[in-house]
């Protein structure tokens, strides 16, 4: 007598429903919990470090992570890793739950190698060759150092995924990046078709008459593009993205929006701009369209860049956004 454990029809039906469930789960998007099997990442992660060598991914989840630069700290915070971070740099100031950790660098950008060693990290993260003087030394002292390459907004999103892979938080990273991506798409959709106003993003006015601004290659420039604005210094790619220009150039370019990014204590005072000599002829001043945005959300390569994009878009296309400008746009942290 032939007895099968499962009849072939039932088997086929079972397989069919299984497949449907798989695809259904695979399509699931934002906000899903991590109870399901890890899904494919939306965009491929970065696998080469800032020096062009392949990144060595750890085999187990690192428990003692040291971040050498503020933007990595923000990424770590966004990935909910504050419990596993043991050291940060002097300039990390967000999120708040990281700021009480031991600082391994000082105000001059000098890193305390001894202290880093003493923290016994199993993963040291840095970005953009900012710590190139220390990377090799720390590596030679036996630490696992990963210095991620610098780039634009989309590369930043990819790097969030890389950090997720490095820290074994791939699911959170995927979700975060998906969410950020959809926020970006949202903004772009809202401002599509509007006329692009001329925008100046200023970084520093401590030398009167010769300010530093966001030029081509900086995040500010990219965000202005994405927010459908025109950065009046888009074509100036000197100074590594932060060229020094003259008042004349600004006055003749005549932007309709001026965005300050300095800390209010160090020149980021909107009222002071109205008092600048010869600036009175600029449209932005005439139309009272001088604003200040927290430099950390349009300069730091991390998740908050999207916040910066939203603030910027709302400032230059106020009619496309409802509600007041969120408080975090003008924060200082």
């Amino acid at each position: 007598m032939r007895s099968r454990v499962i009849s072939s029809r039932f088997f086929l039906l079972f397989v069919f429903f299984f497949l449907i469930m798989l695809t259904a789960c695979g399509q699931s998007g934002n906000g899903q919990s991590t109870t399901t099997i890890p899904t494919q990442a939306a965009t491929p992660a970065v696998t080469l470090d800032a020096y062009g060598t392949p990144i060595v991914f750890p085999t187990s989840a690192p428990q003692r992570i040291v971040s050498l630069v503020p933007n990595i700290s923000e990424i770590l915070g966004a990935l909910d890793l504050q419990g596993r971070v043991v050291g940060i740099d002097y300039y990390t100031n967000y999120p708040a739950n990281l700021t009480s950790l031991p600082k391994v660098s000082d105000v001059n950008g000098k890193y305390n190698v001894e202290q880093i060693v003493a923290l016994k990290p199993d993963l040291v993260l840095s970005y953009g060759e900012d710590t190139k003087q220390y990377d090799a030394q720390l590596q030679n002292l036996g630490m696992h150092v990963v210095d991620l390459p610098s780039g634009d907004l989309s590369l930043t999103l990819q790097e969030i995924l890389t950090v997720g892979r490095l820290t074994f938080t791939t699911q959170i990273a995927n979700n975060l990046v998906s969410q950020l991506q959809s926020q970006i798409n949202d903004v772009k959709a809202k401002v599509a078709g509007t006329t692009a106003p001329k925008v100046l993003i200023e970084s520093d006015y401590s030398t009167p008459g010769k300010p530093y601004v966001n030029g081509g290659g900086s995040f500010g420039d990219e965000l202005v593009q994405d927010a459908n604005g025109i950065n009046i210094f888009h074509d100036n790619t000197t100074g590594g993205g932060f060229p020094q220009v003259t008042d004349e150039a600004i006055i003749s370019a005549n932007p309709q929006y001026i965005i300050l990014t300095e800390d209010p204590a160090y020149g980021g005072d909107v009222n002071a701009v109205y008092k600048r000599s010869n600036w009175g002829s600029i449209d932005a001043l005439k139309l009272h369209q001088v604003y200040r945005i927290n430099s950390n959300i349009i300069g730091r390569p991390g998740p908050r860049l999207v916040e910066g994009l939203e603030c910027l878009a709302q400032i230059i296309h106020p009619d496309k956004f409802s509600g007041a400008l969120p408080a975090y746009c003008t924060g200082t942290v």
């Binding site: 000082d106 105000v107 001059n108 305390n112 060759e129 003087q133 090799a136 030394q137």
Partner: protein
Amino acid sequence: MRALPAPILLLALSCLLLVVILLAASFGSVPIPLGTIMQILMNGTGLFHFARQWDPTAEIIVWQVRMPVVIGAALVGAALAVAGVLFQGMLRNPLADPYLIGSSSGAALGAAIAFVLPFEVVFGSFFPLTPILAFAGAMLTVLLVYSIARVGGQTPVVTLLLAGVVMNAVLVAFQTLILTLSPHAQFGVQALFNWLSGGIAVTSWSQVVIVGIIILVGMLFALMLSTVLDAFGLGEESAAHLGMHVERYKLLIIIVGSMLTAAAVSISGLIGFVGLVTPHVMRLILGPRHRLLLPASALGGAIFLVLADLLARVVIAPAVLPVGVFTALVGAPFFLILLRNNKREYRW
């Protein structure tokens, strides 16, 4: 003190140096007990085998992080002090320091170039770029200054000094230009500021060994020049009358002095005062004969800088102050006190 025979004095200074090195190795941002440190160090010499009762990271910290810095400080201090003796003796000028004829601005320019270049190392991580360019910059500048000052087979001291001043100004202008125009301007400026303030920037033993060899060779040459320096003290003509080839020795002194300065500066940035004050102090204590003055200044300079570096590391731990600040804060008042205590017009 002058009555004590030279070997005893030198031995005393050497012992003091060892004590100071031990002291410096025992302080840092991470507290490690002195006993542990002593055991670690003695184990390291290979002559002792203490059972390891301490955390392995302590050993890494002591041997890989602290000791290179401390030994580096000792070498830099010795080199700068000896270079100071050489230049003060050749120029017969109490205000001469090792940087006078251009090595400082040359090194700074080399470092500035290194900071803005896109690559970091030459031949792999064995030869980081900054020290190499700083060394090359210092040596080339000095040789350039010498060849400018040399007229008709002679190099008058005044011309040498003036050419050095002019070259310093020109190179600083170049340095500003490079930093302004480079795309890594902000990083370059910060890095250069850190470098100029002075601090022992060694990251591995290999750097210490290479620089150490250059410095030890330089000091050996300097010692061989002791008679020459004594004779130079009488004036160039009198030195010639005593049978010296004055112009040849001047060039040799400049080369050796600059080699020492360049090697020191390549790993420490610009640390002032060591080369100016140490020879003075040693002369006041031990007398002007160079045969004793040179080794004594080397030891004295090493002690001075190791202590300064130690203070720079612990005073506001875990932050690190620039060592140059300390050498000035310590060196200047000390020097002024010595000046005031000499009742007659200052004879050094």
